[in-house]
Symmetry: C2
Subunit: 330 residues, 2 copies
């Protein structure tokens, strides 16, 4: 087993081993497979918290504050910052991370950035594997921060027990946006920068929206009939000031309350099933895509099909159907 | 054929039919398959231009200007604005579009926004199909605008003949970011807001970077030995002022020059092969993912595997391998 030394050190709580293993799972799915295969039985203890919000909503100061409160409680914290968007904006995010790192001693807080590395793909898969490494490393809480909520982030948040969405007063468009897809992933709304005018208005807007649309996260996800009759979790709302740390106790309490809800309702089991299904799907996508890419670049029938498509005697969808036959799965 | 009326109208240049068909391919891959199957032989005439840049680089005013110049040349233009990122930021982008639409009569310019609709996925596939619809509709140029350059955008830009990357003076981090992945997709760098101080410095930075790294787009993409000896295209640099329209003739000329390069070098054939391969891969990803999702939610073996993963007697990667066997592709 090529990584057994590193894994042994990881399980002893060695920070360098954690960092090295995350780099390995990020860059190489074969390494990820071998590593997860060994450490999987040592996972399942960490509480996973997802945090998202539009650029400018103050995600990094919010997370810094939350982390301070957790550290005071004696907890070990892992923070994974995921940026699925552009390398063109990657610089700014990295700067935030460096500032965040300055706030903490390395003993209790592990911070890591993960960016979309283009061709490598599989960011949700790499994030999931990194969470497992931090879990096995001994983190009590793993905070996963993402920029925005596209499909990649929705996949990433399937790993989170509790998802916090940050909003700020004044950005008028965001309530409209929430309706478009945030509702299904949010457990707690936090209005940040509560000192700005419009904070109460923002809370009122969220409240109003929650009253309009009662189809929340656990209702739609909950396909198992055992849980069909349990009460929904209505997303909670808090307002905070990340600069003065005002109201952070309340956020910590809401997270605790949500954790209790998951456990007492039995939804936690449902969460685990959904998380595993999502994870398997990520791994399969990666493996099957690699297989298809290999086929497309090597099979001689493919070249003939491409010629036909270039001549317009075949259209791309019909060609895709021919490849599915070649793969033997239709 | 359920869409034959719409398609007939599309081929006559009916705007409403184009809009309706784009909605269909965006929402429903079965409809997309039927539509592309019919219209594919009517495509291949449009020149496809990709435009990207960080938020704040002035993409929409740049595109408005470019469009005005094309319209003056008597061309019909399609503009597809793709936002693979968050619904949380979607509102702002939409506002830009509405302002853009006010600048043009609907006869010569067709503008459409496409956002990531979460679960539907397949944004690159939907964009590719929409380009085909605008091509068959009679557009001479289709401009595809994206926010940033993550994996989704790289996939989207495989359809573009020429890719323009916008930069602005003063954003120090972007050159660093360019090295990370933009170089491989860029044909023309445009420094926008040339009236700001630092525009010449930005041009100098790009020039310097181009001298450092000679591994450009066509070198890396060009696997076909027929084209292995042709000269590379060194990305061109222009600076413009989108507010005053200064220097846009130069950008138009550079695009023409790049088009000529593609044709005279024979790289255009290579571009078509790459575009088809990328498209097929998008379609296959979508179809195979659907199949795997179906399997995961219905197969009784899967439930047993999930129980084993929950018990930690099986890890997710091993479970993925078992499913690959079930699919019969290993």
């Amino acid at each position: 087993m090529p990584y057994s030394d590193l894994i042994e050190k990881l399980l002893e709580g060695n920070t360098r081993a954690a960092a090295r293993l995350i780099t390995l799972v990020e860059n190489d799915i074969e390494a990820a497979e071998e590593i997860v295969n060994v450490i999987y039985k040592n996972t399942g203890k960490a509480y996973i918290l997802g945090v998202t919000g539009a650029p400018g909503s103050g995600k990094s100061t919010f997370i810094s504050n939350l982390t301070k409160f957790f550290v005071k409680q004696g907890k070990k914290i892992g923070i994974i910052c995921v940026d699925p968007s552009s390398p063109l904006t990657g610089g700014a995010l990295l700067g935030d991370r460096i500032r965040m790192k300055e706030n903490f001693s390395l003993d209790n807080v592990f911070i890591r950035s993960m960016a979309n590395r283009g061709q490598l793909g599989g960011l949700a898969r790499a994030t999931e594997d990194s969470i497992k490494i931090l879990d096995a490393y001994g983190c009590d809480v793993v905070i996963v921060e993402t920029v925005g909520v596209g499909q990649s982030e929705v996949d990433i948040f399937k790993s989170a027990h509790t998802v916090v969405v940050l909003l700020v007063p004044g950005l008028g468009d965001d309530i409209q946006a929430i309706k478009a897809g945030i509702m299904e992933i949010t457990d707690i709304f936090v209005v940040n920068k509560m000192d700005l005018s419009g904070a109460d208005k923002k809370v009122a807007e969220i409240t109003q929206m929650l009253e309009l649309d009662m189809n929340y996260k656990y209702k739609s996800n909950n396909t198992d009939e055992n849980y069909a009759k349990i009460a929904n979790w209505t997303p909670k709302i808090a307002k905070v000031n990340s600069k003065t740390s005002e109201n952070f106790e309340e956020v910590i309490e809401l997270i605790e309350e949500h954790k209790k809800f998951l456990e007492e309702s039995g939804i936690i089991a449902n969460y685990q099933v959904n998380r595993i299904k999502s994870e398997i799907l990520q791994i399969l996508k990666h493996k099957i895509t690699k297989k298809v890419e290999g086929l497309i670049s090597s099979n001689s029938d493919i070249d003939e099909y491409i010629r036909l498509v270039m001549d317009k005697s075949l259209d791309p969808y019909s060609m895709a159907n021919l490849i599915i036959k070649l793969l033997g799965i239709e």
